[in-house]
Amino acid sequence: MADKKFRYNVRDHAAEYWERSPKWRRVCLSISFIAFFYALPFLNNPLINTPGSDFQSVLFYPVGMYVLMAIGLNIVVGKSGLLDLGYVAFFAIGAYTMAILGTHTGLNFWEILPIGIALAMFSGALLGTPTLRLRGDYLAIVTLGFGEIVRIVAVNIEAIGGPRGIAGIPTPPDFFNAKFTILDPKPYYWVLLTFTLLIVWMVRRMAARRPGRAWDAIRQDDDVAQLMGVNTLKYKVWAFVLGAAVAGAGGVLYASQILSIVPDQFNLNVSILILACVVFGGIGNLWGVILGATLLAFTPERIRFLSQPRILVFGIALVVMMNLRPDGILPKKKREHFDPNWHTVEESGEGEIK
C-alpha cells in the first residue's frame, strides 16, 4: 500500500539489501567501505581530483570537516527537529580551546580534545536549557544570535588576539609513525575519519533506542510526546549538547591543523552552509547528510578552475537540485511523508468495524 506512488529511492533499495544480507556479508561490506575511506588520500583519480587545490587537504577541509559537522547538526535539526542557526559557535569554542590551551599551557592535542568537547557541551547545555523551552522560530533567532555573539566576543577580547586571532597553535604529537605536520594533511584526515566513524556508530545506536524514539516523537509533536511521558526538554537539551560535542571535537582538530585561527572564520556562513549540507542531502537521514556534505564541500573545490563564476555555478546547481529533489538527495524514510487524502476512499467503510 505504501508503495502506491512508487518513486525510485536509492536509500530504500540500499536499506533493503542490507537487511537481507547475512552477517558475514555485512561485515565484509563494512570493512571494505571503511578501508576505502582510509585509503582515499592515495586515490589519484582524475574524476575526483581537485585541480587548483591539494586533493589531500581538501579531503580534510572542507570535505571531511563538513561531513563531521553535518552529522552533528543532523542530530539537532534532523533527528529532533530543532532549528539551530548558530552551530558554528560550538566549532569556534572547540577551535579556540585548542588555540588558547595549546599556546599557553603545555597540554597537547589529545589532552585538549576532551576539554574542548566538554566546553562545547557545557555551552550547549547553557544555551539549550533556557532556549529549548521556546518554540521553533524563537529558537532559530536565539541560536543565530549566539553564533554571532561568540564570534564578536572573540573579536573584542584582546587577550585572545582580538580580530587577529591566535597563531602558532601546536600540531598534535606523533602518533606511532604518523607525523602531524602542516605539510601532510593525511594523518589529520585519518583522525577526522576515525571521529566520524565513532560518531556515526554512536548516532545509529542512539537512533535505534529510546533517545531515537523520543526525538522522533518530539519532532512530530512535542505536546503529544509529553503526554506519552517523554521529558522533551531533557531530550532536546541532549540533542543540542551532543551536536555541540561533535562540532567542538571538529574545532579542536581543525585548529591543530590550520595552526592559526581568526574570529572571522567562524561567521554565519559556516552555520548556514552546514545546515545546507543537512537539508541538501536529506534531512534526518544519516547517509543522505553525509553525501550532501561531501557534495557541497567538494563541488566548489572540484570546479575551482572556473575561478570567479564557480560560486555562481554552484548556487545554480543547488537551486536546480532542490527543485528536482525537494526532500534532498537521499531523503529520510518515505513513510514520514503521507498524503492526507490517501485514505479517503476507505473512510466510507469505517462504520463496519467490530
Binding site: 500500500m1 522522533d216 512530530q220 511521558g229 473512510e347 469505517e350
Partner: protein, 239 residues
C-alpha cells in the same frame, strides 16, 4: 484515585480562557465536560495534563497537588490523554505509536504483550493494521489508536478530548461503546465532548462549560432531560 480541580484559572497571554472552574472526578466514574466550541474544554484537559501552565487554582490527583508538576511526570503518575485531533505520530507504525504510550515503563516483554492484547481486544482493527503507518489510517482508526495508546500507559484516569470529532455516526457509536467498556474494567474517565447526546448517555456526571465558566453541574441523566440543556446542546428544543 480522585482527580479534583479547584478554582482553576488559565490564560493565553492576557486572555483568560478558564475563569475559575472546579471539577471533581471520583474513582470509577465517567465525568463529561460538554460545551460549545471555544468554551475552554481542550484548555482544561491540556492544563490537567500539564501542557498549559496554571495561573491560579489547584489540580489535586490522588491527594497531591500536581499543578506545578511537568507534563511527563503527570503521565507517569497515571494521567493519560488522547488529545484533540488524536495526535497520532504519523511517521510511526501502529505498533510504534502504541509503544510510545508506555514510554516510561520498563520494557518488560510479557507486560508489554499483555497490554497490547488488551488494546487489540478492544480494537481488533488495530491488530490488522499493526505495521501500517499512523498517517495512512482512517480517522476512526486514528481515534482508536489514540485511545489505545493512552491505555498502554495503564492510566488511573483517562482524559479524552472529543473522541467523536470528525467521525461517521456508526463509528461514533462504536467509539462510545468502547469508552463505556474501558470504564467498566475499572478506568476512571474524564470525557470532553461537543456531542452532548452521546456523552450524557454514557457519563455518570456532567459539567456544562460556557466561555470559561461552569454553568451547570449535575447527574448526566438529569441533564439529558433538562430543557435548557436540550435547547442549547441537544438541538431538540424544550419540550
Amino acid at each position: 484515585m480522585r482527580l479534583e480541580i479547584k478554582d482553576l484559572h488559565v490564560h493565553y497571554g492576557k486572555i483568560e480562557a478558564i475563569k475559575g472552574i472546579s471539577v471533581t472526578v471520583n474513582e470509577g466514574e465517567i465525568v463529561t465536560l460538554i460545551g460549545a466550541n471555544g468554551a475552554g474544554k481542550t484548555t482544561m484537559l491540556k492544563t490537567i495534563s500539564g501542557l498549559r501552565p496554571v495561573s491560579s487554582g489547584q489540580i489535586i490527583f490522588n491527594g497531591e497537588d500536581i499543578s506545578k508538576m511537568p507534563a511527563h511526570k503527570r503521565a507517569d503518575l497515571g494521567l493519560s490523554q488522547a488529545p484533540e485531533g488524536r495526535g497520532i505520530f504519523i511517521g510511526m507504525s501502529v505498533l510504534e505509536n502504541l509503544e510510545m504510550g508506555k514510554y516510561n515503563r520498563k520494557n518488560r516483554k510479557a507486560e508489554m504483550n499483555e497490554d497490547l492484547e488488551k488494546v487489540f481486544h478492544l480494537f481488533p482493527r488495530l491488530k490488522e493494521r499493526i505495521s501500517q503507518v499512523g498517517g495512512t489510517l482512517s480517522g476512526g482508526e486514528q481515534q482508536m489508536l489514540a485511545i489505545g495508546r493512552a491505555l498502554m500507559a495503564r492510566p488511573k484516569v483517562l482524559l479524552l478530548d472529543e473522541p467523536s470529532m470528525g467521525l461517521a455516526p456508526l463509528m461514533i457509536a462504536n467509539i462510545f461503546n468502547i469508552i463505556t467498556e474501558i470504564n467498566k474494567t475499572g478506568t476512571t474517565i474524564l470525557l470532553v465532548e461537543q456531542n452532548a447526546q452521546q456523552a450524557l448517555q454514557r457519563a455518570h456526571r456532567a459539567y456544562v462549560l460556557e466561555v470559561g465558566h461552569v454553568v451547570k453541574e449535575a447527574k448526566a441523566s438529569d441533564l439529558l432531560n433538562d430543557p435548557a440543556v436540550r435547547a442549547a446542546y441537544l438541538g431538540t428544543g424544550a419540550h
